[in-house]
Symmetry: C5
Subunit: 363 residues, 5 copies
């Protein structure tokens, strides 16, 4: 429970953690994330149709030589807290300082910005960690002439598929330009969203069954929790549709016409994700209604039991009370069969009451 809360806060609270930056000059490259260990790991995958090489680099200067080669380079920077390295890289690749600022700003909302020589894209990666907790990671991509620069906070295995296709020359990827690599990476990130949404759907369906069976208060809490998760995810995923549609319509020279066909697919997926989130939201809201109706029903049941018990026994107790009075002159008391007659009457009352409640369908 504890863990979940923390993770949720990552989703929900992130946008506000900008205080330490308030008042600083725009264009100041300041890391705002939580992983401040200061180490960046930089690796490069360099390839063309007949050539493939991948290695981890010692320092940021080693990336410089890849800028002007014809081969496509995927420069992968993991860890955003070592701001100096990123500034060096940015300077060499001629990236605007404002871009670098957004790049390390882990609170940056997903967006796409087109510059003359490169395209800058911020996305959020969503995945489930080993304990099934939802994690949101900041991710930034820069598409240059012959290179894609990828910045991420932690090493994620979402890109293993791309890496494999590159290594094994599977599919078209080795014969196409940097824009195709750019697309393939974005596609990998978006594919992950489907898994997260499926996970959420499963959670909602589980809750649904719980609501049917035992509407305890903690079910209500879980429903609210889910609603907040859906809200948080929506915030991080919704801009993606806009990004995809921008990429499909762009006239930027770095995006070739035939890559746009593939980007159309990304757009398709992001529309589907959009619709799914809205559906999840509606489902979670109707779940709450369901829950409330169930609580009311339980209450109804409780009240029926009380009413039946009270309606039967209170009148009987009253009758017993009458013959428990100590008046001197109560003729019935001295009648031989009076006791049994009264018992019979009481029994009759019980029968009548039961029939009445049966008719009312309370039994």
């Amino acid at each position: 429970m504890k863990n979940k809360k923390i993770n949720l806060k990552r989703v929900i609270k992130k946008p506000f953690k900008t205080q330490q930056k308030v008042g600083k000059a725009p264009g100041t490259v300041t890391y705002l994330g939580l992983r401040e260990d200061g180490e960046n790991k930089i690796s490069v995958t360099d390839y063309s149709g007949d050539f493939y090489e991948t290695k981890v680099l010692e320092n940021v200067e080693e990336t410089f030589k890849f800028r002007d080669t014809e081969a496509i380079s995927w420069i992968n920077v993991q860890g955003l807290s070592n701001v100096e390295d990123i500034e060096k890289l940015g300077k060499y690749y001629n990236i605007n300082p404002l871009v670098l600022e957004d790049l390390v700003n882990t609170n940056q909302r997903p967006k796409i910005d087109e510059y003359e020589d490169y395209i800058f894209c911020v996305l959020k990666m969503l995945y489930l960690d080993k304990e099934g907790q939802l994690v949101v990671e900041h991710m930034a991509l820069i598409l240059c002439e012959h290179a894609v620069l990828l910045f991420q906070e932690i090493e994620a295995d979402v890109f293993d598929g791309v890496r494999e296709r590159l290594a094994n020359k599977f599919g078209r990827i080795r014969n196409r330009g940097a824009d195709y690599l750019f697309f393939a990476l974005i596609d990998s990130i978006i594919d992950q969203y489907f898994i997260v949404l499926e996970h959420l759907t499963d959670k909602i369906e589980l809750l649904e069954e719980k609501v049917y069976n035992s509407p305890e208060q903690d079910v209500a809490n879980s429903i609210q929790q889910i609603r907040k998760e859906v809200l948080g995810i929506r915030k991080n995923i919704f801009p993606v549709k806009e990004i995809a549609s921008r990429l499909v319509k762009t006239e930027h020279r770095l995006i070739k016409e035939d890559t746009k066909l593939f980007l159309g697919d990304v757009l398709d997926h992001s529309i589907q994700i959009h619709e799914t989130i809205e559906m999840l939201r509606e489902m979670s809201m109707s779940l709450m209604e369901m829950y409330m109706s169930n609580v009311s029903n339980k209450m109804n049941e409780v009240m029926k039991v009380l009413t039946i018990m009270a309606s039967i026994f209170i009148p009987l107790t009253f009758i017993a009370g009458i013959y428990g009075m100590n008046f001197e002159y109560m003729p019935e008391l001295h009648h031989r069969n009076a006791y049994f007659i009264v018992l019979g009457i009481m029994f009759l009352i019980i029968i009548i009451m039961l029939i009445y409640f049966k008719r009312k369908k309370w039994l």
Copy 2:
């Protein structure tokens, strides 16, 4: 009940069943449906104004000869799991691999894509099976110069009407081009939606009566179930309006001007379907409110019975209790008519109480 659940999952969950594809290269033609028996049944209906022939083909290669004839060919592929055949067909008809990928992807959202030589359209077919369960089937159409390629998971009888009109030369269909066949097939699919919606409306009206008569918890569950069904259907039907409006406005050379008049009709229908779904949604939501108000009313009734019983008999029991006390000096006890006077007072209290509750309209 079991069956329904399963079918519903088909409607709701399908969009997420993409895991097995996550990480694969785009353009890989992978079947994602549930019917993996591996057999495709390919049939061809070939016709022109004065010629009509229909037959089941042995293998996919037999379809090739129809490509270049002037007669209109309707090539019907049933079963999408034999991916190889579909790839062969696609190759021969010059279909982009990305299109083939979407074609066999049963999770693909309804859409329309215009290419230079063909138009590709994905739709969902909704129908009620023999047990009245709602089934969603993936369906893809490709309109070529002289042919319409129709891909479906199972053999559906929705197209029997078209087949009959072709065979019997009824209406215009035999004298018109492939685009008219394309329209006629889409029209048949959309006509089915009306039946499904009528079925849902009947279900909602049935529930409405149940809500009036006996607001049990399972009625609430049914209402939620209906809401989920409406949501699921909406997801599959909504994009159709967009598709129809695209077809009406398209400048594609394969769609002739006079066919657009008919497509305008399809657009009309899809707007009507759109409105109907929204109405069903609103009706199901107000049904839930109705239900809640009924539960509250029942509770009110229960509480009234309890309150009336308790309010009448608790004071009486108290009076009886007083004269059941064993004090030595209680002058009333020795009075001759005391017992009957007390009984009279009790009776009076009952009368007063009943009048009081009558006035309050609780009786």
Copy 3:
């Protein structure tokens, strides 16, 4: 009650009654309404500035001669089930078969279609029959060069005003073209909507008073009924705004510039109707909330009565119970004034309780 239900079904269910047409070829003129007596009554009102004639025709062929005269003709076809006559008429006036199909399709949603030689418009007429039940009638108009063709299921008296103005040469109508007649007829239909909406408003205000006074379950049912009626009406009236705005903006040669001024009025009215329906919808929704709050309040009141009665008499009964015990050694029992002291204490408890409940404002 019965009647109402039936009429409501007309409003709600109609859109789905298309099954008998599913599978038929588009362009097949099939009557889908409920009045299948097979008889059409065709009448013609022919007029120009100084000429006026109105008569009922024997057969459809008699209408043909009016096509080419300069005088304006209003051809009124009542009864849509005799499809043959309508087809003949359509053929002679050069109407597209698809138009004829929509014309007799009583499920057709209101719309306007502009063709080269004529304008086709479908509207729904709403009126209250003699028992105050809401009736929805399908209506279709075709504006030609010198004629307006009006198709309706039953003879409605909505057009009496137009007829009178024509006969008595009142206003501009006799000196203007067919487009003005077209406008005048549409205007008459829309004027009826105001009456229906006023009727609904009265119904809602009546319900409002009922909700205040006696929130019985049948009030809730009536509210839901009204909401469904509003939904059903909305469906039939909403497209009218679109139609009016299309007419105002059209460049069609049959609509003259100075008639557009009047059509602007129609647009004004349809916007007002639109807003009114939305307001009625909101009012009916807040009525339901009102009702729920009233139910809760009534329950609160019931509970208070119960709680007051129980809280006062249960403790007293307990005290009485104590002195009803048969212990041998109970010193109080033998005290001379014990009985009266206990009675006094009981009276005191009642007083204290009453003050307590008074303070809590439960009394």
Copy 4:
């Protein structure tokens, strides 16, 4: 209470009071208001930079001479039921009969229509009468070359400010054209809206306090009343935003460029009013929720009192009941201290119960 209701009806019902006009020819100038005394009061304020005159006219013909003078004339017609005068005035000023029709139609929705020689504007005036009741008045303005024609049902003092500025030559108004006067009048009407909205806000805040303190049923009724008032006001005020934005963007020759700066201010205000109404609506809705939560809480409190009383005394009464039984052989009865021991046990039970309820935080 009575009064309020009547006024509210004016707001809500007006749009439907068109029955008496249904069937009449368009362009028929028919007064639809409630003040049918038949008398119009016509006054004129004539001014230029160095000239100012104001007087009440005897008959409508006296206004004619002001049409062609260079000085700006503000012709004020109070009372709309004398339709003849208005028609004469309209004819002389060349106003379209359709405009005159809308002008006296008190149900006309606010709108603006631009004609070649004049601009026609309908607005609703909202103000609080002496008893604080909200009144809605129909108002129409016509901007001509050198004159503004203002039509209102009753003499309102909203324009006193304008009159004063004219008389005292305060501000720019005397040196500017008719369009500035037109703006100044509209501005005065809109300024009143702020007062009405402030009044509503105060009412809502008052209700809020009542909801906190004593959630009686009449509070719920008041909330609904407010919601209806907000709805009714919204209907009359919303179109104003559209009108203002039209005036700012118009190319009409009668509106000079430098007057548009001021009209921009009117637009600003109408946006602010728009936002405020939406906020009031949301506040009134959340007030209802607040109320419902308070009712539930009160019920909770009532139930707790009942449960505590019942839970403590019912078991005790049972114990007393046991020792009130008349069995011959009940050893305890003969024990010396039995009575006091039982009393002690009862006391103990009370203590335990109180602790239990304290723990549950019910006390």
Copy 5:
């Protein structure tokens, strides 16, 4: 509590406090704020790349000399009630009187207006005062050729960061034009919004915990309070998005192309703020639902306790009542073990009841 209320009124009520202005001529510069001490404090910060000076001025005339120097001047006017000074300043800088009117109108909604020689912008500053109360301050900026005029009601420390960067020549600010200063000031104001929103989020999360633990009525009140705060903030912040997007797209000569890059950042932030407010709104609404569900649950619990107590002891009391009757002939009374048998039966009933309630999961 008191304080909060007052501050809240500032947020909510401000838009209506225009009564004192109703009826005045447009363009009259009237201060509408609450701080009417009449003193303005005017200070100037004058700088260029190699020059920096800041000082408090004695009177408004001292600002005049800065108008025509090449150095950038930031003229800061604190206190808006001394209208004369502002009018003098405006006159010298050629500002339109309508602009001056909006400038001192503390009720003015945030907006941007472009004039030929300057750009006028109204914003609201939100900050938390020392007691953590939310304060809304009116703020107006005018961007001229070489100067930015900033008007604020009180001295706020939000601009300390800008001042520092200017003084210490940190970042680009000293080498750029007045438009960059204009951007930097707006950026500072918007940065504050994040802090306010974070504060609100914290408050909502705190309330959430309270709702889980103890759903008292005052929690409901707090939720409503928060909702009103969110509404009030929304009103003041929402127009900012529009302002930012206008600034990004403007063609005004005073905004240079490279400053627009930075303004794009402001737009990014305002979109993020927009989304966050909507999220807060949704969270506060679902909090209310949460609360209601919790109240219902508590009620359920209360009812269960009552029902269990009553269901167990009422029947037992009835049995005791039977044997408390005084009939002469009651055979059981004389049986030796009757008393113990009855006690046993009673015990049995208790056991059965407990099992029953256990099964129903009420215990």
